[in-house]
C-alpha cells in the first residue's frame, strides 16, 4: 500500500510531469476505442483539455457524444486507449487497477444521477463508506462523515436511512459521501437528472457554494443547458470530439434564484386554503 501511495506523489524522476500552474486535469490527445468484435467504436477521438483548480465545468453533449466515456476516464473508472491523462500532475492513464482504486478513493468524489446510496444503511454510514477504504481510524471516520453531512446541511439526518429521505436529501448525502475524503475534484454525472426543478437548484446551490467558498473543482455532466448555466465553463462534445469550450457569461447563481422559486410547501399552502374559504 505504501508503495502505491508513493508512486502517486509527483517525483522528480517523472519526466512526463507537465503540470501547469493550477491545472488539476490535463488531457493530451485522449482516444477511447471499444473493440466490439468486427466493429470498432471510437468513443473519444483525440481530446485535449485543461481544467484549472477551482473551476466549475459543465460537460454537455447528446448521448453517444462521448461525454460519458470522458467522465469514466476522468473518474479513473476506465483507461484511455491512447493519449495521456494527468491528474494533479501525475499521469494516471496507464495505472494498475489497484492504483486507480486508490486514486478514486483519495482524489475523486463521485455523484451519480441515481444517488447510489446503500439501502438500509444510515446516511452517516453511507457517507463513511469511502473512508473505510482509506485506512482512516474509526473515530476519525465518524468525525469526518458528520462534518461532511453538516456541509450539505444534513447534520440532523445522520441516522436516517435513504428510504426516509427525499430525493434531494439523498443526493445531498451522496455529495457528502463524495466530499468525505477531501478530493481534488468532484465529478457529478447528471446529479439533477432525477430531481424536480427546485431541488435541482438546491443541489446546484450546494455545488456552487463548495466551488466558490472552498475552491473545490467541479466537473458536471448534464444535457440540460439550464443546469450548465450554473457552471463557469461549458464543454460540448459531439462524435467523440470537443466541439465547443467557452466561459459562461451571465452565470446563474443558485442562491439568488432559490428565493424566487415557489417551494413545494408554498404550493401546498396556496392550494389548501381554497376549500375552507368556499365552505364559509
Amino acid at each position: 500500500m505504501d508503495a502505491t501511495t508513493a508512486t502517486m506523489e509527483p517525483t522528480s524522476t517523472m519526466t512526463e510531469v507537465t503540470r501547469r500552474d493550477g491545472a488539476v486535469i490535463h488531457l493530451e490527445g485522449v482516444h477511447k476505442t471499444y473493440d466490439l468484435g468486427e466493429m470498432k467504436v471510437h468513443a473519444l477521438r483525440g481530446v485535449s483539455l485543461d481544467i484549472e483548480t477551482g473551476d466549475f465545468v459543465a460537460v454537455m453533449g447528446a448521448s453517444g457524444s462521448g461525454k460519458s466515456t470522458l467522465m469514466n476516464i476522468l473518474g479513473c473508472l476506465d483507461r484511455p486507449t491512447k493519449g495521456h491523462y494527468f491528474l494533479d500532475g501525475i499521469d494516471v492513464s496507464q495505472r494498475s487497477k489497484v492504483e486507480l482504486a486508490r486514486i478514486r478513493n483519495r482524489k475523486l468524489g463521485f455523484v451519480f444521477q441515481q444517488f447510489n446510496l446503500l439501502a438500509r444503511t444510515s446516511a452517516l454510514e453511507n457517507v463513511e463508506l469511502p473512508t473505510v477504504y482509506a485506512d482512516i481510524p474509526p473515530e476519525e471516520r465518524t468525525k469526518r462523515a458528520k462534518f461532511s453531512l453538516e456541509r450539505v446541511g444534513l447534520g440532523d439526518r445522520a441516522a436516517h436511512y435513504p428510504s426516509q429521505l427525499s430525493g434531494g436529501q439523498q443526493q445531498r448525502v451522496a455529495i457528502a459521501r463524495a466530499l468525505v475524503n477531501r478530493p481534488s475534484i468532484l465529478l457529478a454525472d447528471e446529479p439533477t437528472g432525477n430531481l424536480d426543478s427546485r431541488t435541482s437548484v438546491e443541489i446546484m446551490d450546494i455545488l456552487q457554494r463548495l466551488n466558490d467558498e472552498e475552491g473545490l473543482t467541479v466537473v458536471l455532466v448534464t444535457h440540460e443547458s439550464d443546469i450548465a448555466r450554473y457552471s463557469k465553463r461549458a464543454l460540448e462534445f459531439r462524435d467523440g470530439k470537443l466541439r465547443r469550450d467557452e466561459r459562461i457569461r451571465e452565470r446563474l447563481v443558485a442562491k439568488e434564484i432559490l428565493p424566487t422559486l415557489p417551494s413545494l410547501d408554498d404550493l401546498d399552502d396556496e392550494e389548501q386554503p381554497a376549500e375552507p374559504a368556499s365552505a364559509d
Binding site: 482504486a101 463521485f110 438500509r120 473505510v132 459521501r177
Partner: protein, 405 residues
C-alpha cells in the same frame, strides 16, 4: 479494510435477509449437527462395548466346542462332544500362561418357586468361574469345590431370576425346583446388566457342572471353558499352545479342521470396536455429504447476492474499494454464514445426542475433536464455496455495475 470491519459488514448484510440467511445456514447446521450426534453415538457405543468387554475380564480366553470356520456343514456350538474336563485340566497343566479355568455346561430349564416360574439358562461350572469373569456375589456365597465334587443340588441366582421368582423375599437357603430337581439357593450375584450382544446377563442360574452334567443333561462333555491368562498379552499368546494341545488330545490330523475354537477377549473387543468404528465412519460420511450440500447452498445464495448487489459493488468500487476489498467482503460473508451454521450445528448436535441418550437409553460420548473438526470443516466449506461468488463480485466492471438495473 480491517477484518473486524469486514466482519461487521458481513453480519449486517446477512441480517438484512434473515430468513434467507437462516435457510442457507440450515444445510450446514444439519451437517454439523449430524456429524456431532453420529460421532457422539458412535463413541458412546465404543465406550459401552469396552465396558462390556472389561466386565467379562480382560485376560479371558474362551474355548468352545464346535467349529468356528464359516464353511462346510458346521456342528453348532456345544454339539460337539469332544471337549471335556480332562482337556481343561491338561490346559491348566501344560499351558503356564493360563492361570485358571472354569468349565461351562449349560441347559435351559423351567425354574419354579412357590407359584412363580421362569424359563432360564442354567450353567454348570466351578466356583472360580466368578473370579474369571470378575463377577462378585451380592448375598450369600458361591458354592464350593465340595459341592462340585459331590454334585450337590445347590445354585446361585442372577438378579433377574431372583427378582422374578422371589420379588422382595430373601432367597438364600430357599428351595427352588429346576426342571425336575430341587435346588438350594446359596447366593445371589451382582447385577451385570446387558451384554455387548444386548442380552440380559442376569437372567441366569449357576450350579456345579457335575450336577448339570449328571443329573440334568446326562452328558459327560463340556460346551465351553472360560479360562483366564496371567495377563492381557498372555491371553493372546496362549491361543496357539491351547490349539496345539487340544488338536493333539482330540487326535485331529493335519489339514483337518479344529473341533473347537479359541477366542480371546481382546479379539472380541477389536471386532466390536472396528464394527462400531465402521458404523461411525459410514454415518459420518453421510453427514459430510450433507455438509457439502450445505456448501453448495451457500454458493448458490452468495451468487444470487452478488447479482442483487451489483450496484452496491459498483458504488464500493467507485469510491475506492479494490478488487481485493470486494472479494474479501463476500468471502467473509460466506464464511460467516457457514461458521454461524457450524455453531448452531454444534448446539443441534449436542441437543440431539442428549435426546438420543435420554430417550433410547443409549450412552453418548460428546467428542471435542468431532466438534473441532466440524467447525474447521464448516469454515473450510464457507471458504471454498464462497470463493467463486466472491471472485465473481470482485471482477465486476465498476462502470457496468453502476449502470446495472
Amino acid at each position: 479494510m480491517d477484518f473486524w470491519n469486514t466482519f461487521r459488514l458481513a453480519l449486517r448484510a446477512l441480517a438484512r435477509n434473515k430468513m434467507r440467511s437462516a435457510l442457507t445456514m440450515l444445510g450446514i447446521i444439519i451437517g454439523v449437527g449430524a456429524v456431532i450426534a453420529v460421532v457422539s453415538i458412535g463413541q458412546g457405543a465404543t465406550y459401552m462395548i469396552q465396558q462390556g468387554i472389561q466386565s467379562m475380564g480382560t485376560n479371558a480366553v474362551f474355548i468352545a466346542a464346535g467349529s468356528a470356520k464359516p464353511s462346510g456343514a458346521r456342528m453348532g456350538y456345544g454339539a460337539v462332544k469332544t471337549l471335556t474336563v480332562d482337556d481343561m485340566a491338561a490346559i491348566l497343566r501344560e499351558v503356564p500362561l493360563i492361570k485358571q479355568a472354569a468349565p461351562s455346561v449349560g441347559s435351559r430349564a423351567q425354574v419354579v418357586y412357590g407359584n412363580q416360574n421362569w424359563n432360564t439358562s442354567v450353567t454348570g461350572t466351578t466356583p472360580n468361574y466368578l473370579d474369571i469373569r470378575s463377577w462378585p456375589i451380592q448375598a450369600g456365597s458361591m458354592f464350593g469345590q465340595e459341592e462340585v465334587d459331590s454334585a450337590s443340588n445347590v445354585c446361585v441366582l442372577g438378579t433377574t431370576v431372583q427378582r422374578i421368582l422371589f420379588n422382595d423375599e430373601n432367597p438364600i437357603g430357599k428351595q427352588v425346583r429346576i426342571g425336575q430337581l430341587p435346588f438350594r439357593v446359596v447366593g445371589i450375584l451382582e447385577s451385570k446388566g446387558q451384554s455387548v450382544m444386548g442380552d440380559d446377563q442376569d437372567d441366569k442360574i449357576f450350579a456345579p457342572y457335575t450336577t448339570v452334567q449328571r443329573k440334568m443333561s446326562g452328558i459327560t462333555w463340556l460346551q465351553s471353558i472360560n479360562a483366564s491368562a496371567v495377563s492381557q498379552e498372555a491371553s493372546l499368546a496362549a491361543v496357539s499352545p491351547i490349539t496345539a494341545l487340544l488338536r493333539e488330545r482330540h487326535h485331529i490330523r493335519q489339514g483337518e479342521d479344529d473341533d473347537f475354537f479359541v477366542r480371546t477377549q481382546s479379539e472380541v473387543a477389536d471386532l466390536f470396536t472396528s464394527t462400531s468404528r465402521l458404523m461411525t465412519l459410514l454415518l459420518g460420511s453421510v453427514a459430510v455429504v450433507s455438509l457439502l450440500v450445505g456448501g453448495i447452498g451457500i454458493m448458490n445464495i452468495m451468487l444470487v447476492s452478488v447479482t442483487e448487489r451489483t450496484r452496491e459493488i459498483g458504488v464500493r468500487l467507485a469510491v475506492g474499494a479494490t478488487e481485493q476489498d470486494v472479494q474479501q467482503q463476500f468471502l467473509v460473508e460466506a464464511v460467516t454464514l457457514s461458521m454461524m451454521g457450524g455453531l448452531f450445528g454444534i448446539v443441534l448436535g449436542l441437543v440431539g445426542s442428549a435426546l438420543i441418550s435420554y430417550f433410547l437409553a443409549w450412552p453418548t460420548l460428546v467428542s471435542v475433536i468431532a466438534i473441532f473438526v466440524a467447525v474447521i470443516f464448516s469454515i473450510f466449506v464457507g471458504i471454498s464455496f464462497g470463493f467463486y461468488p466472491a471472485y465473481k463480485a470482485s471482477q465486476l466492471d465498476p462502470i457496468e455495475a453502476l449502470r446495472y438495473e
